[in-house]
Amino acid sequence: MSAPAIAPTAAVPALTAARRPRKLTVAERTLASGLRVLAVRRGSVPLVEVRLRVPFAGRSAGHTAKAAVLGETLLSGTADLSTVDIAVALQEIGGSLHVSADPDRLLLSGNGLATGLPRLLAVLDDVLTGAAYPADEVVGERDRLVQRLHMARSQPGVIAREALLRRIYGDHPYSREMAEVDAVAAVTPAQLRTLHRSRVIPAGSTLVIVGDVSPQRALDRVEAALSTWDGGAQAKRAPRVPPLQPGPVVLVDRPGAVQSNIRIGGRALPREDPHYAAMQLANLVYGGYFSSRLVENIREAKGYTYSPHSVIEHSTAGSSVVTEADVATAVTAPALLEMRYELGRIATVPVGERELGNARQYAIGTLALSIATQAGLASMLTALLTSDVDVEWLREHTSRLGAVTVADVAEQAARFLAPRALATVVVGDASAVRPSLSTLDEVSTE
């Protein structure tokens, strides 16, 4: 652990000795089908959390659309069960099951009363081995998805996100988190059945179970319940991400907008990289938590924005760092100037020991908080699988954070947070913000 984190105000009580979290014991088994199963007992409430991660990368816009519709209709019936039958079966155990698709994977997230685990697994088996994609249901869900995509794309945050992803990923599938309406409308039930057969497969998939359950019995139950889920070939991974080409500020016009959505993004180190802890702390000091330079500058000193922040996002084929700030239209250029100043500062000037110590304690403490609930632990374990690291990573990461030096932070900040390494997107009223933005940088309009 580090030196005292902040200058002590006389009256503020000191921290007492840190208490160690209980050791995390994970039971694990890989089934003959290739499905990897992890189970952890966490008896805090009589519930169980389930996450099934199925690799689902694809290369085309058509795949993004098919994956999205498949996610909406995986629970829409089997040969024997209707949508309502499946929903009833889950509701009876106080349960629910949701499916989401992203450019890396299909994720089935479920939970329910712990006594309902056998039922939850039975429903999983029903849909994994028997999802029928009934034509009528597919048409209904497809139409609703089109409507929801229109609604999502009316949100400035979504417009900004899509523009930034295009900017930093070019034509890579990671630029297409959200499906295109036309492609969705063209998806057929037959395509979904084919896609399910070839890609909703146990090889490469991982099932995480956390809750008030016996881990060994949970593994046995999974093995029995999912014994007929097999087939398919090899899971596919997303292709390598292309190098980032920093360029002009991309300005997306939203006439009359009262705010501008500023996004600055670039590459980041993945969790498994030995320098990741230093990158994480560099990002925290810069803009990754409330006590960061970015928040203290553009929120607490200047009042430009409500919730500025910088996050590192992990995908299988590469990680990224993204700063977001939604600022009043009138201060768009001044806010971007300050954001770039803070990026430039952390990339060129060593951080203070105290700043580093504060960020370090925050990273260590919040890592423990994030896995203190059943749902948090289940999601964290699933996220680690995206990075191809195992549970030991959690424990080791605390030590790695403890060992990071000011020089380590400087090195990673210079690589990943330097303004010239990053792309900028601004969504806002172009006529109002272009003139002042143009004083800072070249601006291209999208």
Binding site: A11, T16, Q91, L113, K302, S307, D326
Partner: protein, 435 residues
């Protein structure tokens, strides 16, 4: 699949309560499973208590409570919590304002000190007020003014449903009102509403109750006591005639509609809980009544939800409050079709009753949802704080699943029969952003 109603599990959490000589009520609930603690201070003042001409003030004041305090400079509160490995937040609701943090257990006394320091005296200055006024305006822009569906329905429905300023006004605040707020307003608001006797301090997690109470005495004991304000009577008569309004959302691509009915005083749980169950019977998941009818059957609705409380939490609000149903529908679907479908399903439920397993499975869902919410020490500490403040019963957190399981079919049917057109407020949201 065999139908066998599941047993609703019961929980039990220890609760130690005491009241300091200055009137501060304290509830402490140890749980040593993980080395984590949470501290929450709940003040019994919210949006409803704002004076006329000062809309949004309770929320602006919440921001000011983070700007330094008796012994702490601006920014120090954030830094102390986060550099101890914790997270913090605050929020403003209709009937209360809360401040909370969750941290590693070794920061317990520090957290208590930080909360006590601002109950003693926040550092409210012209500079801090101007800064947080700007921040709050950006918060309103990001969540309301620049956001499709941003004010729908929580800011738009109250003025349709209610007549008094307290219940009807915009709790985020009018920019003109916010700009006219002064340091003196803030000082008076603090003096009046932030008395120890108007607050509940809830502490949970890996702690020893006796040691914790001693820490509370140490840091809060010498904060001078002052009288808690009398809570005004906010009640209003129920509607006897349907009220309707339409608002245009310039950013929304498709229309939406919200319907709301008054429900019994949440203080009377036996009368109130059937409405909680009813909202879930109508809208929870693909087996719910309204999803089956409007989403899967008629296919005239894109998304649908139903809940108690204008801000979405059934157990953190006092009377008067409401059951809400809201739906987004395609531009080509007349809103009357959606409303008629809802009316027909409500009548069918009131006339024909529930399906054989319908109540049991909805109760299982609500119980699981409640349990999930109190799995985190923070979630449980917050739930205990509000239950203690509004009901004098932090233990309710553990008792709720059992109380919900006791709701009878006849109670739900009777509740459905109350959701008639002449008692409701309807807000139609027109899609100004439709292409």
């Amino acid at each position: 699949m065999p139908l066998r109603p599941v047993q609703i599990p019961s929980m039990s959490y220890p609760v130690e309560r005491s009241t300091l000589s200055n009137g501060l009520r304290v509830v402490i609930s140890p749980d040593r499973a993980a080395p984590v603690i949470a501290v929450a201070a709940y003040y019994d003042v919210g949006i409803r208590s704002e004076p006329e001409g000062r809309t949004g003030f309770a929320h602006l004041f919440e921001h000011l409570m983070f700007q330094g305090s008796a012994t702490l400079e601006k920014l120090e509160h954030f830094r102390y919590v986060q550099s101890s490995g914790g997270v913090f937040n605050g929020s403003t609701h209709l009937d209360y304002t809360n401040y909370f943090e969750t941290l590693p257990a070794n920061a317990l006394e520090r957290a208590l000190f930080l909360e006590a320091d601002r109950m003693r005296s926040p550092r409210i200055t012209e500079d801090n007020l101007a800064n947080q006024l700007a921040v709050v305006k950006e918060e309103i822009r990001v969540n309301v003014l620049n956001q499709p569906y941003g004010p729908f329905p929580w800011l738009l429905l109250p003025p349709v449903m209610f007549d008094t300023f307290a219940n009807a006004h915009n709790g985020y605040g009018d920019f003109g009102d916010l700009e006219s707020a002064t340091v003196q307003d803030a000082a008076s608001f603090f003096e009046r509403y932030y008395a120890p006797a108007n607050a509940v301090l809830s502490i949970g997690g890996d702690l020893d109750p006796d040691e914790t109470l001693a820490m509370v005495e140490r840091h809060y004991g010498d904060i001078p006591g002052r009288d808690a304000p009398q809570r005004p009577d906010f009640t209003e008569p129920d509607l006897t005639q349907e009220r309707r309004a339409m608002e245009v959302d310039a950013l929304a691509p498709t229309p939406a509609v919200a319907l709301a009915w008054r429900v019994p005083d949440p203080a009377d749980l036996a009368a109130y809980l059937p409405y909680l169950v009813l909202a879930e019977v109508l809208t929870d998941g693909d087996s719910s009544r309204l999803r089956r009818r409007l989403v899967q059957g008629d296919r005239i609705v894109t998304s649908l939800s139903g809940y108690l409380g204008l801000m979405g939490d059934p157990f953190d609000v006092r009377d008067p409050t409401a059951l809400l149903l809201q739906a987004h529908h395609p531009q080509g679907v007349p809103v009357e079709r959606v409303i008629t479908g809802i009316d027909e399903e409500l009548r069918r439920l009131a006339d024909d009753g529930l399906e054989s397993t319908e109540l049991a499975r909805v109760i299982a869902r609500i119980a699981a949802h409640q349990l999930r919410g109190v799995d985190s020490i923070l979630g449980r500490t917050l739930a205990m704080a509000i239950a203690e403040q509004q009901r004098g019963r932090a233990e309710l957190v553990a008792e709720l699943p059992g109380l919900i399981a006791a709701v009878e079919p006849a109670d739900v049917i009777a509740a459905a029969a109350q959701l008639v057109p002449q008692r409701r407020a309807v807000l139609e949201l027109a899609a100004g952003g439709a292409k």
